[in-house]
């Protein structure tokens, strides 16, 4: 029974990581690539680690595996958000078939502040200078 569970879980994990690899090759755009990478690879590695925990079946190994899974679940979205933000600032283009760019015109190009319009940020800066 345990053997079948380990086989199923590790095969699913390997398939999800293979899907992430195919996605990073085939996707047309950096942001779509980030999305595919983060979600599919996190799920795949989580399934592989759970199958390792079932295989060894000890308290110490299981707690270690849970620590690794928690760490990956916490850090993957943070890392993806930081690299996406930095690459948006450094001028990576969207895919030509993308319909909307919600952030267009909302970032100040120098200070990287976020507002609904650039004019508001400039007004704020001028008011600070006048003070």
């Amino acid at each position: 029974m345990n053997d079948y569970l380990i086989i199923i879980l590790s095969a699913l994990g390997a398939i999800f990581i293979l899907l992430a690899a195919i996605g990073i090759i085939r996707m047309p755009d950096l942001y779509l690539r980030i999305s595919v990478t983060t979600k599919a690879a996190t799920l795949g590695v989580g399934l592989l680690l759970i199958s390792a925990a079932i295989y060894f079946n000890e308290i110490g190994i299981t707690s270690r595996v849970l620590a690794i899974i928690t760490f990956i679940l916490l850090t993957a979205p943070v890392g993806a958000h930081m690299i996406g933000r930095a690459s948006y600032f450094s001028g990576v283009k969207l895919w030509s078939k993308s319909k909307e760019d919600d952030l267009k015109g909302k970032y100040h190009p120098k200070t990287h502040g976020l507002a609904s319009g650039i004019d508001e940020i400039e007004e704020k800066n001028e008011s600070k200078k006048s003070i």
Binding site: I25, I34, A86
Partner: protein
């Protein structure tokens, strides 16, 4: 797993921008965690899982450091 590592490495080599390479590096390290897990099941030695944990730490630190560097480089130009 070997096929997926090869595919990611292709993207790492041909990636048009630096950010593509950073994303591919992150995915390579995450795939490395999976490979280490399978190897530790195969050889029946649970000590390899420690290496997987340290690899997760290094992947996160590398991604954050690269994005910080990209941000700073953009501001200086």
């Amino acid at each position: 797993m070997a096929i997926s590592t090869l595919l990611i490495f292709i993207r790492f080599l041909i990636g048009p921008t630096l950010s593509d390479r950073v994303v591919a590096l992150d995915l390579l390290l995450t795939t490395g965690i999976g490979i280490i897990t399978i190897y530790s099941i195969y050889t029946d030695q649970p000590a390899f899982l420690d290496i997987a944990m340290i690899m997760a730490l290094i992947a996160f630190l590398g991604t954050v450091a690269f994005s910080y560097y990209l941000d700073k480089r953009e501001k200086n130009e």
